[in-house]
Symmetry: C2
Subunit: 235 residues, 2 copies
């Protein structure tokens, strides 16, 4: 079956966590909104005119008639069907919990440039964004990434042991995103995260991920997504 991924066409954003899993799974999919008329097609579904289960927002995945929305939910589904998560209940719940920690972290990354809300422009909240970014790097990044660094130290080389899961792919994306958005701050922190950086390198060198990253399917980071490079926020 060929999947349909629905997400905004010009950004990596939250959709990128799904794209990475689809790439690693070797799954066939259409990135619908990147095709002509695709955004309109996406809106018809979120408007709820053609489905009883309309998602609140992109990203969502269609698998035949099934619609799965929210990154962690889509990854749980793909993980089960493509061997990117444990089969047993305990393992599935553990991996889903890890992904939900990443979900929370991603929301906090977004808040660094939109502390006063997603509905105002960054340009209208620069001062608040500076304060939030300082707090984020002082307290939150060490806490979140330190947690995964410790898990890698205990379980490694992947975060849950010797098999790659979708969580490892998402951790790769976090490192890439933080390097892009906050190069100075991230550069200083990396020496405290040797296992996470080694994981990033291991994921980057996997054949399907490597091919995906080199392809047109990988959109470049830019200042419309989750990870944005604003010089004022990097010190």
């Amino acid at each position: 079956m060929r999947y349909e991924l629905y997400y905004w066409p010009t950004i990596q954003g939250r959709g990128e966590f799904v794209r990475l899993a689809l790439a690693e799974a070797g799954a066939e999919y259409t990135d619908v909104a990147r095709r002509s008329g695709g955004v309109a097609k996406m809106t018809v579904i979120t408007d709820g005119k053609r489905t009883r289960t309309p998602p609140f927002a992109p990203p969502f995945l269609k698998a035949g008639d099934l619609i799965v929305s929210h990154v962690a939910n889509i990854l749980m589904y793909l993980g089960q069907h493509h061997g990117l998560a444990p089969k047993a209940e305990a393992g599935r719940l553990w991996v889903n919990g890890l992904q939900l920690t990443i979900t929370d972290f991603v929301a906090e990354v977004h808040d660094t440039h939109h502390p006063l809300g997603p509905t105002l422009y960054y340009e209208d909240q620069r001062a608040a964004a500076k304060r939030r970014s300082d707090e984020f790097w002082k307290s939150r990044v060490p806490k979140f990434l330190g947690y995964f660094e410790r898990l890698l130290g205990r379980n490694g080389p992947y975060v849950t042991g010797h098999k790659v899961t979708y969580v490892d792919l998402s951790l790769f994306q976090l490192v890439e995103g933080l390097r892009y958005a906050f190069p100075k701050r991230m550069n200083r922190l990396e020496k405290k995260l040797p296992r996470l950086i080694a994981l990033r390198d291991r994921i980057a060198s996997r054949a399907r991920i490597k091919a995906y990253l080199a392809s047109d399917a990988r959109i470049a980071f830019n200042e419309e997504g989750i990870f944005r490079r604003y010089k004022a926020l990097d010190r």
Copy 2:
């Protein structure tokens, strides 16, 4: 089996979504951190000294050796084992996606009083909190609650149809929380949300929920949790 719930002992917070599901399920559980020495017991688990799968943060649920963390993950687990969610894959994923929309909304509720980050006091971010609260009520509350109102209109009386799920219990808590934290703003909005308010009343009158709400197990709302009543933020 008797569950163990681990969450901060003096607030409803995120743990309350779990407590409501446990109540509706009629499940036996110990609210560990509310007992003597319980917070220390919770910290031992998050420190990872006694488990290979340490949660990032409370709330988490222990079911024998199994540890399940994050509200949506715990609810998915309880939903499966206590008939509070559909059994089939499509239904489970649909309900989990709805709960993840609620998760996002709860994070935005918290941001109304902590826009500059969870590590600073509210008193140090009052001006930013006012701006964020205004944006939240102008754009975000109508969008999120309007989404569930439309689903109730289509599917009702519960959000996914004729059977109650854990999502309905969480929607009850959202209404209660917004009424507590923002009484003026919520009062004005409620006339636009007749189905959501009717759902709130229907949940409140369920026997087990009614008994739970009247018991000591239900902690009162206060200014340490997610929903906080700050007069400056309500207009």
